[in-house]
């Protein structure tokens, strides 16, 4: 079942004003309701390679896996939607692929990437993330961050050492505690949320949220919400206008109307017990 009539997606990516090349990588597939964003790291071009492997592999593998089993069906082993297992498995595959390339080719040694994957299905979105790239949701004019960074700074905020305000003044902005492709295995944080008509989901690299305040992002999504592509470009421009110190990538997903899955009887029956 194609989700094109229910989901609108727009994306923009930019090198920024300071860096020499763009190590971010993004992919969207509105038909299957998939959006992927990766912010690569590693010397020379390795960062681009890592983020490129992540988005390409996750897009193609997800497409393939969805043919075998619809994502909203409940996985009997875990009791949660299949989407979660699907993303966990595919992310593990991407991790192995990057880790192996990094260890077999000296020019890629140590490369890795952050990751956010959103998979929409049956009026829900399942979001997996690793590192400090984020997913926000704008609902009813209010912006809310729905992923929590895997970073030193977030750890310090959680432990009470820093307030959110103080964290803005920290000099330790670039330390992530989890990344794809750095170790033989990685655990993605995966959550499923109900999606509503009118929701706008924003997936971005830290080049956006380090440069543009959340309230300005909220204002932009409110003002440009009717024109998603323009909204994405406007966000990138605002990050560049305030210095553009890092690569900036933005993926926007708007829920135009609800998207219930046409479930089989068994699945319907099963979902009553959830």
């Amino acid at each position: 079942m194609s989700l094109i009539s229910s989901l609108e997606m727009a994306r923009a990516t930019h090198t920024g004003m300071v860096r020499s090349h763009n190590e971010d990588s993004i992919a969207t597939d509105a038909e299957i309701g998939l959006a992927v964003l990766a912010d690569g790291m590693g010397g020379y071009n390795a960062g681009e390679v890592a983020s490129g492997i992540a988005t390409a592999l996750i897009s193609s593998e997800t497409r393939e896996a969805l043919v075998r089993q619809p994502p909203h069906e409940v996985d009997r082993a875990t009791g949660s939607p299949f989407a979660r297992k699907l993303l966990a498995d595919i992310i593990a595959k991407a991790n192995t692929s990057i880790f192996k390339s990094a260890n077999s080719q000296p020019q890629y040694a140590g490369m890795g990437t952050t990751l956010v994957v959103a998979l929409f299905s049956n009026n829900q979105t399942t979001i997996a993330h690793i590192g400090d790239s984020r997913c926000y949701r704008q609902r009813g004019g209010k912006l809310e961050q729905i992923t929590r960074d895997h970073s030193l700074l977030q750890g310090q905020i959680d432990s009470g050492l820093l307030t959110k305000e103080a964290a803005k003044r920290s000099q330790n902005k670039n330390l992530v505690t989890r990344a794809l492709g750095i170790e033989p295995a990685v655990e993605a944080e995966i959550h499923t949320y109900p999606a509503q008509e009118g929701d706008i989901y924003l997936i971005c690299s830290d080049g956006l949220n380090d440069m543009v305040e959340d309230e300005d992002i909220e204002m932009t999504l409110g003002a440009f919400g009717a024109n998603l592509q323009l909204a994405a470009e406007q966000l990138v421009q605002m990050a560049n206008d305030s210095g553009g110190r890092d690569n900036i990538s933005v993926v926007l997903i708007k829920v135009k109307k609800d998207f219930p899955a046409d479930e089989g009887l068994f699945a319907k029956f099963f979902s009553w017990f959830k």
């Binding site: 004003m17 300071v18 860096r19 020499s20 190590e23 790291m41 590693g42 010397g43 020379y44 960062g47 040694a109 140590g110 490369m111 890795g112 030193l152 750890g155 310090q156 432990s159 009470g160 050492l161 820093l162 103080a166 003044r169 920290s170 000099q171 330790n172 902005k173 670039n174 330390l175 992530v176 505690t177 989890r178 990344a179 750095i182 170790e183 300005d216 204002m219 932009t220 409110g222 003002a223 440009f224 009717a226 024109n227 323009l230 406007q234 421009q237 605002m238 206008d241 305030s242 210095g243 553009g244 110190r245």
Partner: protein, 276 residues
Amino acid sequence: MAKLILSLDGQLIKEFTLSKERTTIGRKPHNDIQIDNLAVSGEHAIIMTILNDSFLEDLGSTNGTLVNGNPVKKHFLQNNDVIELGKYKLKFIGEAAPAAGAGGDKADFEKTMVLRPSTMKAAAQAAAAAGGGAQAAVAARQAAVQAAGQSAAATGIADKDAAKAPAMAAAAPAAAAAPSAAPAAKPAQPLGAIQLLSGGNAGKELELTKPLTTLGKPGVQVAVLTRRPQGYFITHVEGAVRPQVNGQQIGAAPHALKDHDVIELAGIKMEFFLKT
């Protein structure tokens, strides 16, 4: 590296570099910064430095610790903060002091690194074994950071811009000028406003102070005025008809506004002008 400058009654006594993760301050001789004065407690305060951030914590001293005149228990030190212990003053000079004009912003050259979970865990366990509280946790995290940093340096791991840094440093004098000038120029940017020329609210004026101002009717015709370092722009967002500027329909791209441009949108005319 961050520094502390110790002074008494305006007389400079000594300068200390915060090279350790824990720098102790107190009256007793084992302190890293010893201040032999009865108003200072034996173990008075500690400064924890985590990479480029430094935190001051009063260790329950008898006479307390002030920062910029206010008593503190815990404080995230900022450049030029003045710490007071009795009559003694310690001025904190942060590492990323914005002194550099041509040198550019240090943060531009920072690298994104990964803290390996295994190192984090090992350090945390070590801290737990040592029976530490909050301080130990901080120290543990720092140990993990350092360990990760070292392993990263040793193996070249996750070093986001190591390769680029030299190239960027060379370009810094030219490149740094532009991006850093933009935010600084923000307050000096002339304020724009629009005055309605027709319709029921003719004569009304609206100052464009926000980064974005939405005009028009949702679902019919909407345009957004954006305030950028380069000036103001009008962008068509939705509706079959695009707004006109000086009688000309604008394109799909943002259109730069000049002083006294006349905008026509949803049948209403308005004039854009810059306030002086």
